[in-house]
Amino acid sequence: MTLAFARQIDGSRRMALLEVDRLDAFYGDFQALFGVSLAVEEGQIVSVIGANGAGKSTLLQSIAGLIKSSARMIVFDGVPIGAMRPPPLVLRGIASIPEGRRLFSSLSVKENLQVGGQIGRRGPWTLESVFELFPRLRERRDQRSTSLSGGEQQMVAIGRALMTNPRLLLCDELSLGLAPIIVREIFALLPKIVALGVAVVIVEQDIVQALAASKQVYCLQEGRVTLSGSPAQLTREAVKAAYFGV
């Protein structure tokens, strides 16, 4: 009996927005994830931490549809999505902020945002509301995305994902290559985004930020979940042991 199904008949608990149930993921013949389970409730911030090569990005790529798994291993809003490709998943409300931002380099800031809005999902996020969240982007709307600072580029990447009006936002290494003050600024915005009805999964190496921002944390090591729980209940020692395996 699957975890999702068990919860359905349990009835005491509402089904989570995203249920990852004993996920195995592969790069060709190489197995990167071994039976990873994780749940994200509506409007919740969940972080996934772990060392390099622990399988964090693989997990996000599996959820986003870039890596195929068997359908029932990933259930989104009650629908098995493990075998779906990215575009239909975006239509269902899963948005991604890829690692390293990866803006469309020949497009202006505004055009980058518009690509996110192109699928036409309805919701609170429009060019206008993204510019309200990041006023600096309004000034730079007609500039090439490559001419922006790292922090501003990250804002465009966040805005571009929000423009799809997601129910679930996957953030891969938001802090990568950014100054600590910018990282704090960006993390401070997460509650605003969540307040508008978006659940967030953060994959981070910056553990302090990740733990501070999230309700629930999962620690991955060599493709397995070694620890999970509410950050408040976890001791530093437990996190350290789960992270490094010492």
């Binding site: 991604s96 055009e111 980058n112």
Partner: protein, 286 residues
């Protein structure tokens, strides 16, 4: 004045080359696909025009009303049914389009024999204007050149001012992230091929009014297209127009010096540009 005349003939011919090249460049830009069958598809559309004209008793320009939409549908189908499955690596699409080229040539030979054909446009073929006493320009080449400029300008506007054009550019920048933003890239590729072949169909009808064609005429057109793109600089449509014009002028001047030299002169100019300025005249700034 004689030389000016020749240069202008070359310029007008160059517009046509730019039109071949625009379709080729569009496909390479959006999906990094080098379509070796491009020239053969031009010839296919010329044959289609030939038979549509005969069946409906219409002229070549009117036949475009049928040929252009048909070309777009064929392009969409070709991309979704075949070429999308080959993308991902550089070699497979190249091999598949080489195969497609051979198949098209032999099917055309089987169906229509090696006889050369030509599309007849009527009186307009011999009409000319004389802006200066010694200068005579054919009406047909002028129409072809103007059409090429309008189409290239239209493509430019389409790329920078429409949602689909934006999706083309986004997909060209980063295929994976385009998918993560919900763009159905298989559909976008097919739309790009549809647009490319629609442009190619116009070019095909024009070239077939101008010169005789046969089932094996395609590869030569493909080379002209490639040369125009490389001379102009990859990724720039106006550069492609400039490249086409330079190629046309080189061929016209070469032909004037010696009847046997037009293509040779074109290739020599192409090689010189490759040596002196391998990035082309107007490369796309990344």
């Amino acid at each position: 004045m004689e030389w000016l005349n020749i240069v202008l003939q070359g310029v007008l011919l160059g517009g046509l080359y730019a039109l071949f090249a625009a379709g080729l460049s569009l496909i390479f830009g959006v999906m990094r696909l080098v379509n070796i069958a491009h020239g053969d598809l031009i010839v296919v559309f010329a044959y289609m025009a030939y038979f549509v004209m005969a069946a409906l008793h219409i002229g070549p320009f009117t036949s475009l009303i049928v040929i252009v939409p048909a070309a777009a549908v064929i392009g969409y189908g070709l991309q979704r049914g075949l070429l999308n499955w080959t993308l991902g690596d550089e070699l497979p699409p190249l091999l598949v389009t080489i195969g497609l080229s051979v198949i098209i040539q032999n099917l055309l030979l089987e169906a229509f024999t090696f006889d050369t054909r030509r599309l007849h446009a009527g009186d307009i073929e011999v009409m000319s204007v004389q802006p200066l006493p010694d200068l005579s320009l054919g009406v047909l080449p002028l129409i072809q050149f103007a059409t090429a400029v309008v189409i290239i300008a239209g493509l430019q506007i389409f790329f920078y001012c429409s949602a689909l054009g934006r999706a083309f550019r986004a997909t060209s920048d980063d295929l994976v992230v385009a998918q993560l933003m919900g763009l159905e890239t298989r559909h976008i590729f097919a739309m790009a091929m549809a647009l490319s072949l629609a442009v190619v169909a116009i070019a095909g009808v024009f070239i077939a009014i101008r010169t005789d064609f046969n089932p094996f005429y395609g590869p030569q057109l493909l080379i002209f297209g490639f040369e125009a793109i490389i001379i102009g600089g990859l990724g720039s449509l106006w550069g492609t127009l400039a490249g086409g014009i330079l190629l046309g002028v080189a061929q016209a001047l070469g032909g004037q010096i010696n009847v046997g030299w037009p293509f040779l002169a074109g290739h020599v100019v192409f090689l010189m540009v490759l040596i002196v300025r391998p990035q082309g005249l107007f490369p796309k700034v990344a």
